[in-house]
Symmetry: C2
Subunit: 591 residues, 2 copies
């Protein structure tokens, strides 16, 4: 069994010391009450739910998995999932950040991100059920009619129903333009939806009384490709006039997938067999509507990387403390014991510091990005909102693409600390590796994130977000140029930021000459961007720790981890620079 | 289901074109008949067994796993494993490289390595049963009496029995000095062995009529620590006078582990409850005896990395060819189809070329190392044998440590090419990732390999093996300095080799001043060494391809992959150099 303790001290450090969230949030529209005390109290409660209700269902949920009944098309989730969802709904967590008019609490998005981390650490599989609902809610908030919001959004916010996003089809994954699901108009203004969707998380389950599917499909007059896609609300049970679930709709799970991990999450094949659906938003504009919720979904998947890495790290640190094996190279450190613990081995510390650097650095990046979404939504003026929006657009592919990849390394190293014991199911470490393996794939693979960053956010949008961010790094370096605590960090950070900017310009020119250069450089450019971004947040962490009121040990740990990151991790940009510059000629055709 | 085709063309290229194995092997003692035709024919047959008998049991064996019966302590292996083992035994594969006097065929070790690759690609779990036997055979060849060899070694060589190596105990993993299993002398000269061993591969199964356990234990007068360990033969069934299995010994499997992967391999808890055992080799010298077979075992685990990566690569290449999704950045390449295939994406080619570079480079390294073991054993003169032995000692931790780590990256990228489909069990890619995760752990973790390389092979042994190897690289660079085909490779290779040598000297001095520096640098030094080593074999591959008689496409693929490796992979040494030089100060104590 694995341990889990909500990392509230580090969350608070990141939110309040590093990011100054209180000062920012309380100045936003409707944010007067979003002070530290309120946020603290919410985090505390979320931590309890994660530790006490969710964490104990993680391993058992993996072992039990979901079960599908062919005869009834019903899906049974693992033991404890229903109770956990009930506690979640009753605690008001389903509507934490939703607007008050829909029954939500309208709390800041950054708080939602922080609590989502805790729930996902507790049980990633379980957390996918409410997560998918969130995406559906976003879409209905933005594109639904008032009646649609009343009927389909409110019950989700209240934690009675859940939602899904039905995009992928067997022949249409990364390329949604290939999708074939059809929507034929009915006489009453509704549509008959027909087609098969795959990889539908939470497509069917027993946690809630109804499920609202948001389905991408083509109208009869739709143009081919991605400009001919519309979005439809397709409820599992059609709503009665009083809002209660009524007649069963023809939207059935046809199977659930047997996956490497997240076994407690029902990944469904959904068959729509003339199911009744209702157009949401404009005809043929479904893909754009779907993309409006993509940022939130991608940020949450980045948070999944953090959440898994955090819990894996806690356990590997604990194991390294307790496991007695071998002796320190310079002589016994625990001579009274039969052997020293693993912490005396520098290489074990390397593995632990790697995890810590990625976990805490990623947390700062993700919370920063989430805070920008709050500014984007409720900033005092238009200029502030626009800048935040551009920063979010720029940072999302980094937050999703890099953090999910780093989680692969973190969970791998966490397992490695255990030696052979890490490979045994009952020790729980291998589940983190299996669960983590999905996050570089769904909500856009790493290659898709990289193409989004370089192709869209840098080249198409002229890198406005990057300019803001680089400007911020430059201002930080300038402000702390004389700061003794940051003496060894500011120089390398400023140099890396400058090189990042130069690489970007050079790449833009090369891509103009040959668009294939984009694909040849994108993933290495994503990595480069990620490592410099984390370096920035580690330098900020040291600055914040200097000014903060934490314990001396807490501050020393921040300084140590920053020094480790700059000495041993940041130099990875050297390799990625070489790869970026190598160009498409080094990726010749393969027959 | 995954495909598998034995990569005979590349094996032959590596053996005969790149390594010149025929000229070397036929000059060794007893090697007159080990010409190309014989080796070719054996590879061909091994390929058939791997493709037709083993490969079809891989996914089904994973799904079914092994079953343990508490009442009888019996282990049932998955369907098809017994039949495969019968075919293996009948084909004479169990004795392929064993001496003729024990019933073996005395074929070269390098041929054993090449065929082992094929069998492990076919089914890694299955291949662990004969693999463990090999280790036990080695130990008995070197340390057993004639009578012990006759009774316990011959039946294994004949494929009727199998063997195990029983080292690990719950409190003694990497640190065998902590082990507690006791051996009390019986009146008849045998010993009563008592204790519990864990992680015993092939400890119990239904493939053979008897199992010979080689068990490390302490005699009553044994000194504490690693100098008080002796080795014992403990058969599952005691041998009758006629050699047939007789009375059941008190050596029982107490459980099998539920693991992340290699589910068809029975990993047993073995309880020795006063089991009858026979001392093999000198008292208290068991650990040294065990280490004599470590090289072979570690080389074979390196080959497991190659084997898994090869099969994963074949499938991801195949998928990238067939999956239609998206369009090329510079316009449709397959306009007649609904979409282009994945091969038009430069980033997909990057993932494929990464795999190919590691697979084929690792194959050359592993076969080179295996060839040195043949020279070590049967070289014409003492000087040649000693040099080969020193090369083997130096290369084993690289071959095991680096190739198993590269296999993590290869299997991860192979899965990534599939997108979300890679996460689904039935597509088979996730099994490769799960199976691969054990190989950086058993037979010494990566940290142990790194400490062996830097601590023992470089520092204790004054780097004699490294000197031979660097000398060889230097000679190669000199010989090909004017070679147009290698124009862009020789410079970087020579520079990297020089830097490797300088880093080694600088490290040696730092470790002398502070032994903790060893642990702080070892894993990054291992990586550095591995990447330069593969660069050498890629340069040799291009040279061999120029001179060879393969197709133009085959040669072009070698040139392309070498160019890719030098441009995009070799620069990883920049990062590892920075980490090596960062020193132990960047890995401070963790409380």
């Amino acid at each position: 069994m694995t341990i889990y303790k909500a990392p509230l001290a580090d969350q608070r450090f990141a939110l309040f010391d590093l990011l100054g969230a209180e000062a920012i949030l309380t100045k936003l529209q409707g944010g007067a009450e979003h002070g530290r005390d309120l946020l603290d109290a919410v985090l505390e409660e979320a931590g309890k739910l994660a530790e006490q209700v969710l964490a104990p269902t993680n391993a058992s949920g993996d072992a039990e998995g979901c079960h599908y009944d062919k005869a009834t098309h019903a899906v049974t989730t693992p033991k404890g999932f229903k109770e956990a969802f009930k506690a979640f709904a009753e605690g008001g967590w389903a509507g934490l950040t939703a607007q008050e008019k829909f029954g939500g609490q309208a709390l800041p998005g950054v708080l939602g991100t922080a609590t989502t981390e805790l729930f996902q650490s507790g049980n990633l599989s379980w957390s996918l059920y409410p997560l998918l609902s969130e995406g559906a809610c976003h879409a209905m908030e933005l594109h639904g009619t008032e009646a649609q919001q009343h009927t389909y959004l409110k019950p989700i916010v209240e934690g009675r129903w859940t939602g899904t996003m039905c995009l992928t089809e067997p022949q249409a994954g990364s390329d949604l333009g290939l999708l074939k699901t059809r929507a034929e108009p009915n006489a009453d203004g509704s549509y008959a939806i027909s087609g098969t969707k795959i990889f539908i998380s939470a497509g069917e389950h027993d946690l809630a009384e109804n499920i609202v599917h948001l389905v991408l499909a083509r109208l009869p007059d739709a143009p081919a490709g991605s400009r001919g896609i519309s979005m439809f609300i397709v409820p599992k049970f059609k709503a009665n006039a009083d809002g209660s679930p009524g007649e069963r709709n023809k939207a059935y799970a046809g199977a659930i997938e047997h996956k490497m991990g997240i076994k407690g999450s029902a990944t469904c094949v959904m068959n729509f067999d003339g199911a009744e659906g209702y157009l949401i938003g404009q005809p043929h504009k479904g893909l754009a509507a779907m993309f409006t919720m993509m940022n939130a979904a991608r940020l949450s998947v980045g948070v999944q990387g953090l959440a898994l890495a955090e819990r894996a790290y806690q356990n590997s640190l604990n194991y390294a403390r307790e496991r007695l094996q071998g002796r320190a190279l310079s002589g016994a450190k625990l001579p009274e014991k039969p052997a020293d613990n693993l912490l005396v081995q520098p290489d074990v510390r390397r593995m632990l510091l790697t995890q810590r650097a990625f976990v805490e650095g990623s947390r700062a990046l993700l919370l920063y990005t989430a805070l920008q979404t709050d500014i984007e939504a409720r900033g005092a003026d238009e200029a502030q909102r626009r800048q935040a929006s551009e920063l979010v657009a720029f940072l999302i592919p980094i937050a999703k693409g890099v953090v999910t990849e780093l989680a692969q390394e973190c969970t791998k190293e966490a397992l490695q600390v255990y030696g052979g014991h890490g490979y045994i199911g009952e020790n729980g470490m291998e589940q983190f590796v299996r669960d983590a393996r999905i996050i570089t794939l769904y909500e856009g693979t790493t290659g898709i994130q990289a193409a989004d960053l370089l192709g869209r956010k840098i080249l198409q949008l002229q890198g406005v977000g990057a300019k803001h961010f680089l400007g911020e790094i430059g201002a930080f370096c300038k402000a702390h140029a004389g700061d003794a605590a940051l003496r060894t960090l500011i120089g390398p950070l400023a140099a890396a930021a400058k090189e990042w900017s130069e690489l970007t310009s050079a790449l833009a020119q090369r891509v103009q000459a040959n668009p294939e250069e984009l694909g040849a450089a994108a993933v290495d450019y994503l990595w480069y961007s990620g490592y410099v971004t984390l370096a920035y947040f580690w330098a900020r962490s040291v600055a914040a720790a200097e000014a903060g009121s934490q314990s001396a040990a807490f501050k020393q740990a921040k300084r140590d981890t920053a020094a480790f990151y700059f000495a041993r991790i940041l130099p990875r940009i050297l390799t990625h620079k070489a790869a970026i510059e190598a160009g498409v000629a080094t990726l010749p055709d393969i027959a």
